[in-house]
């Protein structure tokens, strides 16, 4: 059985000016020990999806569908059970971890906190575990006594990773774990995550703009556009020969040099992602699509099979599949 199964998950933010459909009907599954990459431009709903997994979304968000973690539906769980699942079974390395640490509490206390909260260790055991975790992420033990502002961005991200590992969860969700870091540190942190999850047999969901990074770290790749899954399949294949024109553009994208946020500029893609409150009809991608055909603005595109173990939401992909 798969560790995580998403079944037609949707998230809508209800705000004063209307409804924002941030995630629309996403179905995915993740096997124990596997790594899944989620790619997509800014605003495509990646973080929203990640937060939905542990029900961390703000009050104004409505979540639909089913999220099965180890067979248990996260969305209908009692709060007590939900709290027990959080961090102990699935932890998150947040996007923008620069602010993910409490500025007035020592690093060591913050790493130990989930251990104590979930009664997984007594205070002195927790201290030893903190030392061990810091070592695993390449930080000296005395760093436990530091405050967040005394650390560099890269070091703070290492602390976040150590914290995510604290309770030996079965799943770690890493939401753009390297975005705010410079290129050298990015590479270090990425290989750190890659090694740690492999070593401990932890499943990983990694979110990024950078398809090449995901292809390197993950087994499976999911590409999101305007809240929808537009392509899914084994990562190397999706990266090398994407079926959906949006994935193709992402795969050909390159990091904008000198931009610490490393926002990708999808190659050959004009325009901006659509406003989720005014989504184009048909295939949401059609206004920007270089290979759009007549029916695209009205056709109800779905994730169609696109080769062995692959799906893509594009008429061309379906046509190819039918021909072969």
């Amino acid at each position: 059985m798969s560790l995580l199964e998403l079944d037609d998950v949707s998230v809508t933010y209800r705000i004063a000016s209307g409804e924002v459909p941030a995630v629309r009907g996403v179905s995915l599954s993740l096997d124990a020990g596997a790594a899944l990459g989620v790619a997509g431009e800014s605003g495509s709903g990646k973080s929203t999806l990640a937060m939905a997994l542990l029900r961390l979304l703000p009050k104004e968000a409505r979540v639909g569908g089913r999220i099965l973690l180890d067979g248990d539906d996260v969305l209908t769980m009692k709060w007590g059970r939900m709290r027990a699942v959080r961090w102990a079974e699935a932890s998150i390395v947040f996007q923008g971890a620069q602010h993910g640490l409490n500025p007035v509490r020592k690093i060591g206390d913050q790493i130990a906190e989930p251990l104590l909260t979930h009664n997984l260790a007594k205070p002195d055991e927790a201290r030893r575990r903190v030392t061990e975790l810091l070592e695993q992420v390449g930080l000296p033990a005395w760093r436990a006594r530091s405050y967040p502002h005394e650390l560099s961005g890269g070091q703070r991200q290492r602390v976040m990773i150590a914290m995510a590992l604290a309770c030996s969860p079965r799943l770690i969700i890493a939401d753009e774990p390297t975005t705010a870091l410079d290129v050298m540190v990015q590479a270090q942190v990425l290989s750190l995550i890659k090694e740690l999850v492999a070593e401990h047999g932890i499943s990983l969901i990694m979110i990024s703009h950078d398809l090449s990074v995901l292809a390197d770290v993950c087994d499976q790749l999911a590409v999101m556009y305007a809240g929808r899954l537009v392509e899914h399949g084994p990562s190397r294949e999706v990266f090398r020969e994407a079926r959906h024109p949006y994935s193709k553009a992402l795969a050909a994208a390159f990091p904008t040099v000198g931009d610490p946020g490393s926002r990708m500029a999808p190659k050959g893609l004009g325009g901006d992602p659509p406003d989720p409150m005014q989504l184009p009809g048909g295939c949401s991608f059609h206004p920007r699509c270089p290979v759009a055909v007549d029916g695209c603005s009205t056709l109800d595109v779905q994730l169609w099979p696109a080769g062995p173990g692959r799906t893509a939401a594009c008429v061309h992909a379906r046509a190819e599949e039918e021909v072969s």
């Binding site: 699942v85 640490l101 502002h149 270090q188």
Partner: protein, 350 residues
């Protein structure tokens, strides 16, 4: 086992920094420099006070003589006695010397040393304003925390609403209202609480005396709290609101902490920092008493003394109380800075 080299961390440092010494020495240096600044401000206040009170319109001796029949000779004699016939520069040095010796002069009105008068009034003021401050701070912060944590809730709207109303109500108006309703009594309803002075004329002894003073304190204290607690509530609320949207709060939730623990362990400690300054600054004003409240309820404190000094006008008394109030505000502001420095790790090591 992963052990990536940590670029920013030379291996030799693995033993850790020599604990405490650098930061506590930095702290001491900071405290000393702040104390120096405070001394300078106090010196400027002393100098400023002298000139301001010399420049005030009106001749103190003539004011004293009002209503009494005095010959010009008697007036001159009085001037001489007060040192007002000397040159300004001599008067200035006398004043500075006296002030350094804590001799604040003699009140024209009471014919007694200003320092003694202040000493008598300090107790009642500290009692009233201190109690008021403690209640206002605890109530304001508690309510502010809960309103901010559940912002938009009914509790929040109620708290914010009442505190805004109380904040905008003039102190004397509220004081008089409370006095009418609970002190004097309206119509058939008798007044329940004493509203004049700090104790009954025939005050009993022992524990009954404590109760008597406490009863006298209720109305002035209530007025004082009602007027100032709103400030704590609103500052605390907005400070907490700022923290609630921070990423580390989401992280704390994601760790599986209970909502109460997220608030207590993460949001509140951060949100309290800005209010520390406010509380300390307010302590400085406590010494000045609450002029309006003390006057309305004829509470025999410093505020009332200051009011009397102004209405006479009694320049030495005004000058003395003014100096005391200003100095205590400066001292408390300095303490606020130092304490803030001690409790916020971010500025502590900077």
């Amino acid at each position: 086992m992963t052990a990536l080299p940590d670029a920013a961390e030379p291996a030799v440092q693995a033993a850790g920094p020599a604990e405490e010494t650098p930061s506590s020495r930095g702290m001491l240096r900071y405290a000393l420099s702040k104390a120096g600044g405070a001394l300078f401000s106090i010196a400027m206040v002393v100098i400023g006070t002298f000139f301001v009170f010399r420049l005030l319109p009106g001749d103190p001796v003539r004011n004293l003589a009002q209503g009494r029949n005095m010959t010009p000779e008697q007036l001159d004699l009085e001037r001489h006695r007060l040192g007002l016939d000397q040159s300004l520069i001599n008067q200035f040095f006398d004043f500075v010397g006296d002030t350094l010796r804590l001799d604040l002069g003699t009140s024209y009105e009471y014919k007694r040393p200003v320092l003694d008068l202040i000493g008598e009034r300090l107790g009642p003021t500290l009692l009233l304003a201190g109690t008021g401050l403690v209640i206002a701070v605890s109530l304001g912060l508690w309510q502010g925390i809960h309103a901010g944590w559940r912002h938009g809730s009914r509790f929040d709207r109620f708290s914010t609403g009442t505190s805004l109303v109380l904040w905008s109500v003039p102190t004397f108006w509220l004081g008089l209202l409370l006095m009418m309703v609970f002190g004097v009594g309206i119509g058939p309803i008798p007044g329940l609480l004493p509203f004049r002075g700090s104790e009954s004329i025939d005050a009993p002894d022992g524990f009954a005396y404590v109760l008597d003073v406490a009863a006298h304190m209720v109305l002035p204290c209530l007025t004082l709290v009602a007027v100032v607690y709103a400030q704590y509530l609103l500052v605390m609320r907005s400070s907490l609101l700022e923290e609630v949207s921070q990423d580390y709060i989401t992280v704390a939730r994601a760790k599986g902490l209970r909502d109460d623990d997220v608030r207590r362990r993460h949001a509140v400690p951060n949100a309290l920092l800005p209010t520390v300054t406010l509380v300390f600054m307010r302590i400085g004003f406590v010494v000045g008493g609450a002029v309006t409240v003390e006057t309305i309820f004829t509470w025999p404190g410093l505020g009332q003394l200051f009011y009397e000094a102004v209405s006479v006008p009694d320049f030495t008394l005004m000058q003395g109380t003014f100096l005391l109030i200003t100095v205590s505000v400066i001292v408390m502001n300095t303490l606020a800075d130092v304490v803030y420095h001690m409790i916020d790790p971010r500025v502590r090591s900077a």
